[in-house]
């Protein structure tokens, strides 16, 4: 046999082995958040239980939702996630550099798995709405976050009253002409 001839391997598989296709990895970009929404921006919530409330945006989560807090003492809005489509960003900003929310992510808000265990009694009681139980961990985190937030809010004159007030539209208001 000459050197230029390819030597056949002694063993080859019975079936043809297909060469693996190049896998195109889907690149997940970080979710896009409006330029007007930054940590510390005061948002007006437009829908849901807290519609009309003015609320401080703490950060944007990896799911694209915004992490928001009332602060709870001022307007009753807890640490909550909000979709930016349901929030108007005002030009008012609070300094939240002192607030530590690095530990709070989307997993923090996932539902607890043990809510599904239903005994016979519960089945027969029917669909009575169970009272929402706020875990102690949430209360603690709320206090921790709000402690730093309230200090920042107290530094600005009238900001506390502003956050406590609700946003409403009255008859002569024109949202398309408003500067938020």
């Amino acid at each position: 046999m000459t050197a230029t001839e390819t030597k056949h391997p002694r063993y080859y598989p019975a079936e043809d082995v297909k060469p693996t296709k190049a896998v195109h990895k889907v690149k997940q970009n970080p979710p896009r958040v409006r330029k007007s929404i930054t940590p510390g921006t005061i948002l007006i919530l437009l829908a849901g239980r807290f519609r009309g409330k003015r609320v401080v945006c703490l950060k944007s989560l990896s799911s694209g939702l915004l992490l928001v807090s009332g602060p709870f003492k001022i307007n009753g809005v807890p640490l909550r996630r909000v979709n930016q489509a349901y929030a108007i960003a005002t030009s008012t900003k609070v300094d939240v550099s002192g607030v530590d929310v690095a530990s709070i992510s989307d997993d923090y808000f996932s539902r607890s798995k043990d809510a599904k265990t239903e005994g016979e009694d519960e089945f027969f009681l029917g669909d009575a709405p169970k009272p929402a139980v706020v875990s102690d961990q949430r209360k603690e985190d709320q206090k921790k976050v709000d402690a730093a937030l309230l200090k920042a809010v107290a530094a600005e004159p009238m900001l506390e009253a502003y956050l406590a007030a609700q946003f409403t539209l009255t008859s002569s208001d024109k949202p398309h002409k408003m500067k938020f």
Binding site: A85, A87, I88, H176
Partner: protein
């Protein structure tokens, strides 16, 4: 395929002013005799485009509006917000 309804938004009298409302959800609320999760019912829709030069807006509802809604009040929501 639903048809388009025209809506005149209060305070909007110019074509340029309608750009704020494009995409906003819109609701026609009405009452009915038979209760279904409450006395009031809603037909949801959204603002699709401006219509003409004087601030009228085209909307499409999930189901077409009933004829008695002509001249009746429609609620324009502020969401989805682009501000």
């Amino acid at each position: 395929m639903t048809h388009t309804s025209l809506v005149k938004i209060e305070g909007v009298n110019d074509k340029n002013d309608t750009s704020f409302y494009l995409g906003k959800r819109v609701a026609y609320c009405y009452r009915a005799a038979n209760q279904k999760k409450g006395k009031s019912r809603v037909i949801w829709g959204k603002v699709t485009a401006s219509h003409g030069n004087n601030g009228v807006v085209r909307t499409k509802f999930k189901r077409n509006l009933p004829p008695r809604a002509m001249g009746d009040r429609i609620r324009v929501m502020l969401y989805p917000s682009r501000v």
